[in-house]
């Protein structure tokens, strides 16, 4: 069984790191790099931040409801989403 409390701390940390990167990329003020930076920010947000935030919402729900009250079919799916967030910081980025 996953340690949901420890996972939540780690996923929160990952979320902060990637949110910081996205903020930085959006703040790039360069005529030459601006479009590329915004594209990258969008890709990071879509491919990394969204799954990480989904995992964070899952962890908050599990904490609120209690893991023993989550149906097996959902808990299996959620565990995979949490593990993916922990392992890849979202999805397996190409």
């Amino acid at each position: 069984m996953l340690d949901y409390q420890a996972s939540k701390c780690e996923v929160s940390r990952i979320e902060k790191v990637h949110a910081g990167i996205v903020d930085f990329l959006r703040g790039v003020d360069s005529e030459f790099h601006e479009i590329a930076a915004r594209n990258l920010a969008l890709r990071v947000e879509h491919n990394v931040l969204q799954p990480v935030r989904y995992a964070l919402s899952i962890l908050e729900t599990i904490e609120h409801v209690g893991p023993e009250y989550i149906p097996d079919v959902i808990l299996e799916k959620w565990n995979i989403a949490i593990l993916q967030a922990l392992e890849f910081g979202g999805v397996n980025f190409e």
């Binding site: 935030r53 989904y54 919402s57 729900t61 609120h64 409801v65 009250y69 989550i70 149906p71 097996d72 079919v73 959902i74 799916k77 959620w78």
Partner: protein, 243 residues
């Protein structure tokens, strides 16, 4: 000489009547259990609840069969008491005495008190404990209305398991249907897991959709809500109760 015989016959009659009362209570209980299993099976449509229904039906038939034996013995005993009381010749009734000889031996063994392992058709192996009688009466009363949600169904199934586990203790392994309450308890434990899962789905759906419109899947758990709705079975209810 007849006085002693009449006393013995009256003792057999009393034990048979006590057994008949217990068999009828068990019979009523199995009918309640069968009804609940029918509802669960109708909703879950799984193999466990289907098998449990056939098992409860088998048990009901076996208990009915025991009641028939009991009534047959009771009629014979009553006739013998009548004949002995009016000092009629008992020689011609020898074959009837033979039929109740096993009953008499078992009662003398303490079979009706659960001290013997020699099963006799029509006689309860032991007196039904008062706690069990109360539990059975309680579940018969509440079974008039079906539970309104999966949480209540889960509690009902657990109640049935407790009653069945107590019933197992009443029938020694050599009894003709000793294995049925035991097997039913095992299969009901599996049904309880499935019902518990439904309760969890019901509860999680409530948590994830609270404060949302019915068809609002815009939240982060939109796909999960769809998955839960696919897995969640309708709560079994009596026809007409939902009106």
């Amino acid at each position: 000489m007849n006085d002693e015989l009449i006393k013995r016959l009256e003792k057999i009659r009393d034990e048979l009547m006590l057994s008949q009362k217990s068999f009828r209570q068990i019979c009523n209980y199995i009918e309640c259990l069968g009804r609940d299993l029918y509802f669960i099976n109708y909703s879950l449509e799984d193999q466990c609840s289907t098998i449990s229904r056939t098992m409860s039906d088998t048990w009901l038939c076996q208990v009915e069969n025991q009641i028939n034996h009991n009534l047959k013995h009771l009629t014979v005993v009553n006739k013998l008491i009548q004949a002995a009381s009016s000092n009629e010749s008992l020689g011609n009734l020898q074959r009837y005495f033979d039929s109740i000889a096993e009953l008499d031996a078992s009662i003398l063994d303490g079979y009706a008190e659960g001290k013997s392992i020699r099963p006799v058709d029509g006689l309860m192996p032991s007196v039904m404990p008062t706690d069990l009688q109360n539990s059975v009466e309680q579940i018969e009363l509440v079974s008039v209305n079906s539970p309104g949600c999966w949480k209540e169904w889960s509690a009902r199934i657990k109640n049935h398991i407790e009653i069945l586990n107590e019933s197992v203790k009443m029938f020694p392994a050599s009894h003709s249907f000793a294995s049925l309450p035991c097997s039913l308890s095992i299969i009901l434990t599996q049904i309880s897991i499935a019902v518990e899962e439904q309760y969890k789905l019901e509860n999680l759906l409530e948590v994830l959709t609270s404060g949302q419109d019915e068809h609002d899947y815009s939240s982060v758990f939109g796909m999960d809500v769809i998955l839960i709705k696919q897995q969640l079975k309708p709560v079994p209810i009596l026809a007409g109760e939902d009106e």
